[in-house]
Symmetry: C3
Subunit: 347 residues, 3 copies
């Protein structure tokens, strides 16, 4: 049994990461090849020719199809053979490449892991800030050599910022603000409301005024593996609350974790914001800074994974600050268990 | 159980690859050391001193013997100790290095894997073009990180030339010519007769005339793991047939695969030819070109092996073009099965 | 079951190798972090924060404590938490870092592997030449990728010097002198007395006179994993014997092997001597030479370990020269067996 939820959408790539040339990514232990057809839709297939298993990502594109570069079997975007190695031979359409359902939305290419018939685009999470009027969105991608759940733990507990990001976004005040944990079905929230604090430099610049503000951090975990963090400040007395706060400047940090194997994952990160939305230079500089901050997390998490492997008799312990991660893992475990129960019935 | 046939000769090296200085090669999972004695015969021993297991390939040659460079145990070419670490001590001849039977023929050093008593040089395959009058022979060696049977599949199905070697020897016509598969005991033939075709540039140059020719490709698999490919052209009307064709120019591509482990092998390749036999420059240039072509196969086969490992639920499929490889694998499986049956009886 | 003795002191480091900045070493399969407190005593803890397992060796020192660089849990030198990630939170002292008993003596930092209550500094072996008046001591450290017992075999049989160290300390005479093996409880001696030999250059220089000397080599194995080698020469007729020999010049080669894993170890080597004791240049040059000699052993032993792994059907054989190593391994096996018997009773 794997450590991730199936019958779910996972981010396979940023929109710009997949084009006409085939690219290979392993998602949830499945080697896949991705490419776009002429109408820009994204094909995902198992990255092994159904004939002799050479990776199709080494193949040559022909129209919307891909031709294996070993013996020339031509496979359509539906995974069905269109031409045999011997061109005059009748096409054997029983031997097909396994295909996967994809969907493009919010600048991400999503791939469905699990039972194809259940793949419903309506199940893609609501990332409204990534396409709302008055907002802008960008980000990057890292390969991280750790269990994707360690990244969820990390993002659901921002106390680590003080130590891991002491040179950048760390701030002692975060440690002092009380946190509130809410669970609604499989969604987990960690909420921090910091009323009447001095605006930190980044937010003062975003707000274009110094002085006292109300500040918030709301981490939201969703199945199968995402964390969105609503952050921002509003001028004191502007009426902002933990539940409603569009009076000041606001950003949503976007984090999607896609398992590659049990101990590695693809990390898609970014930020949607409702300020300086037309300043491309700001967007570029912010993405660079965010990338540096998340590279610090990558370092820590990869060291953590190595220590987990080197100390097989130990286990992770949880304090109050860890309740967000604990609740998120409980939701993941419930979903995995429910799934195996269904599969058990099916047999 | 391994995936190769035992009680068989395998190529260990080209003649020039073994000299007085010990060299190490692992053959069929057995680490071996090879060197020549003063009479030029080749010694093969397990590459571990029978005393404390330091590789003998790190040892020092003394006459026809080898002295371990750890404690100085001196081992004769028969694997028997000749001098103890303490020189005045009585030699313990019960502790010996395991030796292997070798034989040198057709410019190759052969090593017998299996029961020593069955090692009969008469069982070395007939490579007549490698030593016949009016022929010349040369070639090279590659280490390939794949199951040796993938190389057999490759060589028994030349349709891959169109895609893998599109920049060099690939030719669309090969895909159009019908193939014929013959099986005689454990020998498998794939025969292609292309009557009345335009001589391709390489063969026109060899024949020293342009124009229409009869062309052939005959792949011949033999146990335990070799493929010889009879290729050439004869002027139209010269009486050449698929069974007899010495009217024009002819070459025999020589391919011997020696398992190193279940997923790696030593690949010995070359070409014997009956034209330009005294042109050393031609020989050198052709060997270089052939090496470039086979390096393309190495790339593809190593990617194929990785894909096989990454997709444990999949298996190789076979079309009509694969019948040569399929029959060859059947012969290998029969031989392995027969062997285990005999071993079963022996117990 | 591991291949080393527990409830024993192992050398973790030279005294100079551990300072205020945390350093990581794996000892007997346990990842450990080491650092000195203000009073210079050495703390050893499992190198994984009891909270989320990030290596504590990546932490920040604060006073005598260490603060994890992930969430800031502050751990005292006794392994007990002193400050939570949220500073105002009540400290959870049940979740502790595992600590290990250390002791500093003879310029080494020793760590106790096993039951803490049994850790008695009196059990540290008597290395009198490392601190006696009129003697001086220095040495180095290597990481060696082999079972620590192969190093013991190596040191208990100096016949290897002729081959492994032919360019430096190897000498044919060593092969000719008879050896005597004595076993007293778990201590094993290999003694070589070479009366009336020409003083080799090194010893002639140490003795400051040429001519005939009595020479000795006495290898002494002690549990769990050390070999001390008493070497030197005395002028002929000065009354030196194999049992008592302080008439000339004398050195004790010190070798402590600390298992890292079953197939790797930390090798601590050095030399105590009773001549030129105030010549720092001699000490430095000798350490450099000794390091070069032991690097030759490292090469051989790592090749030996690889050959052991590559030849799973073979085993090490023992001649008369190997009796020291054989007896040492018997003592190790007896100790391991005795230990499991006690553990069996405890259950």
């Amino acid at each position: 049994m794997t450590n991730w939820v199936e019958n779910a959408w996972y981010v396979a790539s940023w929109d710009a990461g997949i084009d006409t040339v085939p690219v290979a990514h392993t998602i949830c232990n499945i080697p896949m090849v991705f490419y776009r057809t002429l109408d820009r839709s994204v094909v995902a297939m198992r990255d092994a020719c159904p004939h002799r298993m050479l990776p199709l990502s080494k193949g040559i594109r022909e129209g919307d199809s891909i031709r294996c570069s070993y013996h020339g079997l031509k496979i359509g975007p539906d995974g069905v053979a269109q031409e045999m190695p011997l061109k005059n031979e009748r096409v054997n359409t029983r031997i097909c490449a396994e295909t996967f359902v994809t969907h493009e939305r919010y600048r991400f290419v999503w791939v469905w892991i699990g039972d194809k018939e259940k793949a419903d685009p309506a199940l893609i999470p609501d990332l409204w800030p990534c396409e709302a009027e008055g907002w802008t969105f960008d980000g990057g991608r890292y390969h991280v050599a750790c269990d994707y759940r360690l990244m969820i733990d990390n993002l659901m507990d921002l106390t680590h910022e003080t130590y891991v990001h002491s040179g950048s976004i760390g701030q002692e005040e975060i440690l002092e603000a009380p946190i509130e944990c809410l669970v609604e079905d499989d969604t987990v929230y960690i909420r921090r409301w910091m009323p009447g604090v001095e605006a930190p430099p980044f937010w003062a610049a975003a707000l274009k005024q110094r002085g006292t503000v109300d500040r918030w951090q709301i981490c939201q975990f969703n199945l199968p593996a995402s964390v969105m963090i609503d952050v921002g400040v509003a001028p004191l007395g502007s009426g902002a609350t933990i539940d409603k706060h569009d009076q000041g400047v606001r950003g949503i940090v976007i984090d999607f974790m896609t398992p590659e194997t049990e101990e590695t994952h693809h990390y898609f990160w970014g930020m949607a914001r409702n300020f300086e939305t037309h300043d491309a230079g700001f967007t570029a500089r912010f993405k660079q800074q965010q990338g540096q901050v998340f590279a610090e997390d990558k370092d820590v998490l990869e060291a953590q994974q190595k220590a987990i492997n080197a100390n097989p008799g130990m286990r992770l312990n949880a304090y109050s600050i860890d309740q967000g991660g604990v609740r998120a893992r409980q939701a993941i475990n419930r979903a995995i268990k429910a799934q195996s129960a269904v599969e058990g019935q099916a047999v």
